[in-house]
Symmetry: C2
Subunit: 179 residues, 2 copies
């Protein structure tokens, strides 16, 4: 009990600095999601719909499994959200030509409009935060933020050309909910 303060996990960084970063992450994420949440609420959707619409927009033709692998939630959780997005015509499905079990997901025009509205807000916030910062600072930001992510998902940012993994089951890892 007495020596708890002295665990000093990684000797190179002071506890105070690390705690500041912990708090920054909390406040930043809270504020980052606040305005989109408000917009969504007005049309009867929630943050889960935002994430779904975002990643479908980002990866047109992604499969349900691919989406689950990004979001790291259960299909039952996604299902509620996805069904609502489909029934309200933000998203549509198309059976894959090569494998008729797969249903590829796409945004409708309505979905695109919503995605743009939401993402425009977050882009603006990030862009404003980066304003006046030099390349070193921005790269430092991106590097450290990426390094906070579990190894298993870092490939999404390391190689800008290798980003067609999302529906490649051989590259995904079946330990969702296990680890």
């Amino acid at each position: 009990m007495a020596d708890l303060k002295m665990q000093s996990v990684s000797e190179d960084f002071k506890e105070e600095e690390l705690r500041q970063i912990i708090e920054m992450l909390f406040f930043a994420y809270r504020d980052f999601t606040k305005e989109p949440d408000k917009m969504l609420e007005e049309i009867g959707l929630g943050r889960a719909h935002h994430r779904t619409v975002y990643f479908i927009g980002r990866n047109p033709g992604i499969t349900v499994t691919g989406l689950l692998d990004i979001l790291k939630i259960r299909k039952q959780s996604l299902s509620r959200v996805l069904n609502q997005l489909i029934s309200e015509a933000y998203v549509f499905q198309k059976i894959a030509a090569d494998d008729r079990r797969k249903k590829l997901l796409f945004l409708t025009d309505k979905g695109l409009v919503l995605e743009q509205r939401l993402t425009a807000n977050q882009r603006k916030r990030i862009a404003n935060a980066c304003l006046g910062k030099n390349e070193h600072a921005i790269n430092g930001f991106k590097d450290i933020l990426t390094a906070i992510i579990n190894d298993i998902d870092q490939w999404r940012f390391s190689s800008p050309s290798t980003n067609s993994h999302f529906n490649d089951r051989t590259s995904t890892h079946e330990n969702r909910g296990v680890e």
Copy 2:
């Protein structure tokens, strides 16, 4: 509809780069909270308890109102969490000497142990992410992360000596849930 892609909020940053950062924030925050969540689950607590314990540990003697101001949630939401933390002896209250309406919050030894366990995990993750990065990168990371936070809460990081605002009602703003 056709010109949606060209809104280009802030001309200085490319949409692709901004989207990458949006995604990094999502993945980083998801993974940042995952392991503490797991630890908490084992003892019947949740992320809300973590936040509460964290900020009481960080600001010993903080009032309920001060905590609400940090967390930006309703007192009814905090109440459940706080009552559980008190009844399970992670937190105790002390009536303020100067104003007997105020109840100052402190961690018990048990609460301190929990807070240390949870925070050690997150500190380690941040420290590892910062390993090998130079001061410029780390400062860039902190600067931009701070700039993402709404102005109203940026004082928490700008002036390292001015941090006794948490129980000062004159510095808080009564627009929770309004804005």
